[in-house]
Subunit: 318 residues, 2 copies
């Protein structure tokens, strides 16, 4: 059953309409060589071409625009290792409101530079969830800013859902696979499939080294992300109070892949499909390669969630 | 005046129709950050997503399919440092005819592997034009194969023109810029603009270290490519007997960029636009950045001719 706050599909159609002039309608691409290797028909939804380089621009735009529609004229704040930071800063700059971003001190240099280019006030902190949350509280207390949570926010989830809505307007695959960190993209995708899909199953892909969503899904009890170890830097966070129930109710399965499988899939995407996927975005392809029995001869749509890779430290050049 | 053999636009519409089910209709993408840096409105025609990773699939398909329509059932041969080799091998494999490819021994490993994957018979030679041509003659004598020249062939040029035909169906820019090596893409682009464009000027982009087309264009007398030195490995060849007159008649200008400018533009495309351009394909953007006076506030379409970069040796990691 679709959770109550998302039961009315107008939450999603309003979001799509609200942000459509601000975001890219990203292309679906395919690659014969990868289809041959995987034994199925894959289309890639290329959110690496989204504004600010990732799907996060969808949710950030929907959240900020809906605040402004309701008369808001303060400042916004968040903690983010990168893609949500860039997305929120960009939409804040566009709408003329100040943005405060708490970033872990080990964030990619390219993501820090891009966030700074969008004129956000950056505060660095230790790379732990506790430090991120306590620093954010301090920043909000000092600035009076309103938090825009990176995923546990109804408008963020509705915004991320617009990615799968675009997919489903063009094709109705057997499966859509999205990476899962905090679950904003995965829950939005599953809700879009429930409202606009025709028997489309949604699967989450998670690193084996950060398998808290997998454990939560299998045990039906929230398991936090503790000491995650993975190259997929976008997927280190725990599920949220809003995203977890949506995922439990609407997602078919969560599948895991290891670090070598992620790096192999990333290189395959770059080399054969010419799609610059960041490690988190290579994960769904790693999951397809690791589970040929599930996907054989199926139509599979993989969401390439972002392309903000570190071009000075490619993982296969070690 | 349009050269006689290309005066009838049906050469191009027939080519487009002949190859349409075999090639990708590639997307046009844009990047606000790059527009901001360059001071103009750029769209990128992403032939890096073309079959076999480059626009060369268009010409190769048109040449082979038109041979087959005329009753041909022999084998085909060519010399190529990579992209034409892959494109010809792929279409030959698809149509069931043997392909013989002469490759310089310093070709990228990834391009050699891909050509081999398409089941072509590869013969290696020294990396000079003389060695390529003499080795090809030997291969043709031994096999009886028909040469499909990489650019100096009417059907190849008509095939490459279909790229700009797709652009012009979607947008009518002030400029289209294509890289120039042998001139197949540039002459096809200029012919498409002449037949299907509305005041669209076509510009060639060439490395300063391989400026034979520039010299030929400026002096109106053929200058061969001798000892070219550039990272843009797709642009080492001389203009052809068919391509040079077309370029003289139909191209507005040829502009140059240096090696550092090419590498900077390549990194900019990868980092900000998430477009994996090979060095030859980064050249048009380098030319735009180097000539702000020409392109300021204009609508510019850049053909990203291919994406077959060497992921083990990225030029900024030195």
């Amino acid at each position: 059953m679709i959770p109550r706050q998302f039961a009315d599909k107008s939450v999603f159609t309003v979001a799509a309409n609200r942000i459509k002039d601000y975001i890219q309608h990203t292309p679906l691409l395919s690659c014969s060589a990868i289809n041959h290797i995987c034994g199925c028909q894959i289309v890639f939804k290329c959110e690496n071409f989204q504004k600010a380089g990732a799907f996060k621009s969808r949710g950030a735009a929907n959240a900020v625009f809906s605040l402004i529609e309701s008369g808001f004229n303060g400042s916004v704040a968040t903690h983010s290792s990168g893609n949500h930071a860039q997305a929120l800063s960009r939409v804040a700059l566009h709408t003329g409101i100040p943005a405060h971003v708490v970033m872990p001190e080990n964030s990619l240099t390219s993501k820090i530079h891009a966030t700074r280019d969008y004129k956000a006030q950056i505060t660095f902190c230790k790379p732990t969830l506790e430090a991120r949350e306590s620093t954010l509280r301090e920043v909000m207390a000092a600035s009076g800013a309103v938090e825009i949570h990176p995923y546990d926010n109804i408008e963020i989830i509705a915004g991320q859902a617009t990615c799968a809505m675009e997919i489903l307007e063009e094709t109705q695959p057997d499966f859509i696979i999205a990476p899962v960190g905090g679950g904003g993209l995965l829950s939005g995708t599953a809700l879009a499939a429930a409202h606009f899909g025709q028997c489309v199953r949604v699967i989450g892909a998670e690193p084996a080294g950060a398998a808290d969503a997998y454990e939560s899904f299998k045990t039906k009890a929230f398991v936090p992300s503790v000491n995650p170890k993975t190259i997929a830097d976008g997927l280190l966070t725990s599920l949220g109070q809003i995203t977890f129930p949506v995922i439990l109710a609407q997602v078919s399965d969560i599948l895991l892949a290891g670090e070598e499988q992620i790096i192999d899939a990333m290189r395959l995407l770059w080399e054969r499909a010419k799609i610059m996927a960041e490690p988190s975005s290579a994960l769904p392809l790693a999951v397809v390669k690791a589970n040929p029995g599930i996907f054989k001869n199926k139509k599979v749509c993989i969401i390439i969630s972002g392309g903000n890779a570190d071009l000075d430290h490619l993982p296969w050049l070690k």
